[in-house]
Every structure is written in C-alpha cells, then in structure tokens.
Symmetry: C2
Subunit: 169 residues, 2 copies
Amino acid sequence: MPISLHQASIPLFVRGLKNLASLLEKGAAHAAENGVDPSELIEARLAPDMLALAAQVQRTSDTAKLSGERLSGIEAPKMPDDETTFPQLQERITKTIAYLESLPVADVDAGEGRTITLNFGPMKPSFSGADYLFGFALPNFYFHVVTAHDILRHKGVAIGKRDYLGAVA
Amino acid sequence: MPISLHQASIPLFVRGLKNLASLLEKGAAHAAENGVDPSELIEARLAPDMLALAAQVQRTSDTAKLSGERLSGIEAPKMPDDETTFPQLQERITKTIAYLESLPVADVDAGEGRTITLNFGPMKPSFSGADYLFGFALPNFYFHVVTAHDILRHKGVAIGKRDYLGAVA
C-alpha cells in the first residue's frame, strides 16, 4: 500500500511537537523542584554559538508549520519568536499543532505535485514535495527536537530517549 | 503521486549516515589540528549517564540496518560494537550503507504488508511497515545522528546544521 505525503509528514510533526511539550514540562518541573530559575534552562545551549533552548523550540515550530504551509499551500500563522517562559513555549507548540491539525489531508497530499523552492540567498534549490520532506524538512525538524532534548538532558533534567520518542505502543 | 516505503526510508538512512561520516571526519580533523586525543571526542557525552559519541554512531548504524532488515526481511550484518577509533567508526558506517544499498527496492516496499513486532521486554508492540518507520525508526535514527552532532559541537568541533543536513541542492 503506498504512503501518502500527509501520512509521512503532518502526524510526524504533531507527534514530535507533543513529545517536545512533554520534555519541556519535565524541564519546568525540574526547575521548580530544584529551585533553579527556569530561564537557566530556557537560555541554555550546548556551545556558545549554538541556539538556546527557546530558539530550538521556535525552530521546531517553524520547521513544522513552514513544511505544512509549503506542502499544503495553506498559509501558516506568523509567530514572532518572543517566548521567554515555559508556558509561552507550550502555547507556541499548542498553536503550531492546531495549525497542522487544521490542514486537510487532500491539500497536504497535493503537495507532491507542487514545486517547493527554498531561498538560501544565492542558492534557490527546488524540490518535489516528497524530496523536500525527506531531504530537508524531516531532518531539520528532528534536529531541533533532539537538540532541545539534549540541552535539557545536559542540564540534568531526568529525561531520556523514551520521553523523546513518546508512547510507541 | 504516492510515496513508496523504500523512498521514505533507505535513502534517508543512507543520507544521514553519509552526513554523520562527514561530521566524524571533521571531528577527527579537529583532534589532529588541536593536539586533542581522538578518544576525548569518541568517549565524550552530554550527560554522565548518556551514551558517548562512539555508541551514538553504533546506535545510528543499528537503527538504520535493523529498520532495513525489518522492512525488507533481508538479514542485516551483525556488528559487535567494538569500534574505538574514528577510522573504525567510519568503517562501520561504510558497511551499514553497503547493506542498505544492497536491499532491492521491491523487498523494502513489501515491508508495508509485513507486521513488525518490537520486543521491549513485557511490551511487544506491533506495527505496519509505515507506522514502524514513521513512529519509531526515523525518530530513533535522527536522535542518534543529531546527538552525535551535538556532542561534537559541544566539544568545540567547527560544525553546524549545514553539515548535519548535507548538500540540499
């Protein structure tokens, strides 16, 4: 049975975002339990010139909603990247999921017939919907979810791959 | 145009493994240039109870080849997890890619009709090929590639998301 573009994209983003929300909940609980200022986690990064946790969450949201927009042709809500607290990051995730879940399956599936062009300054590569999804969108999405996990884990939050994967059964 | 199970799996693993090989090359070059013992990178981890770089590479290889095996029904080569140097890790990646590229497209596509059962001790969840791929194999695979990237980045190797994504155009 062939796979549809929707099946290979939107549920993966929604699931990854829900698991990211759980990771952030554990981060917030860790801060509260240990008397740590939540901003110490939210501003944490793995290298001085790498994005901090808040930005990793924002990029996760962007990658998911821009992918939804590019595949479906239905404009995604703009979000100004002004989140500085755990509740604000959760709200962003909730809004991103709501947009993704609002996309009709048929519109996302139609993305296979669309040419998607990215704008990297001088380079403007074009892709079919599936090539864009598999070569760019999914690896990019997981980059930010996993790095958010890795930042929290590095800061001592009691999470692991099971939290990142979510319930598998 | 519908997507085939092969299209959504094997090329993503191969590409991720090739990009991981590039990241490790930059890690090895960093060690040589800075007079750092390579084992300082190979044994590095982001938290005391998290897997080190070598194990992240081994798990990346395992996830890819076990996914190939479960989808295609063609047994993957056993690898004993004894790599302790950059050249040995590169060899493991090369062997993993060779196995994945040897899988006939039709055999992998036939995985959609197979029931894949995982063994988590008391829990033995079953999946269709696509549910296994999207709900478990891909997120798991990217977890280890990204964490390998994050470990090297955390240790000061001059890499970034562009190296992780590889050439997109």
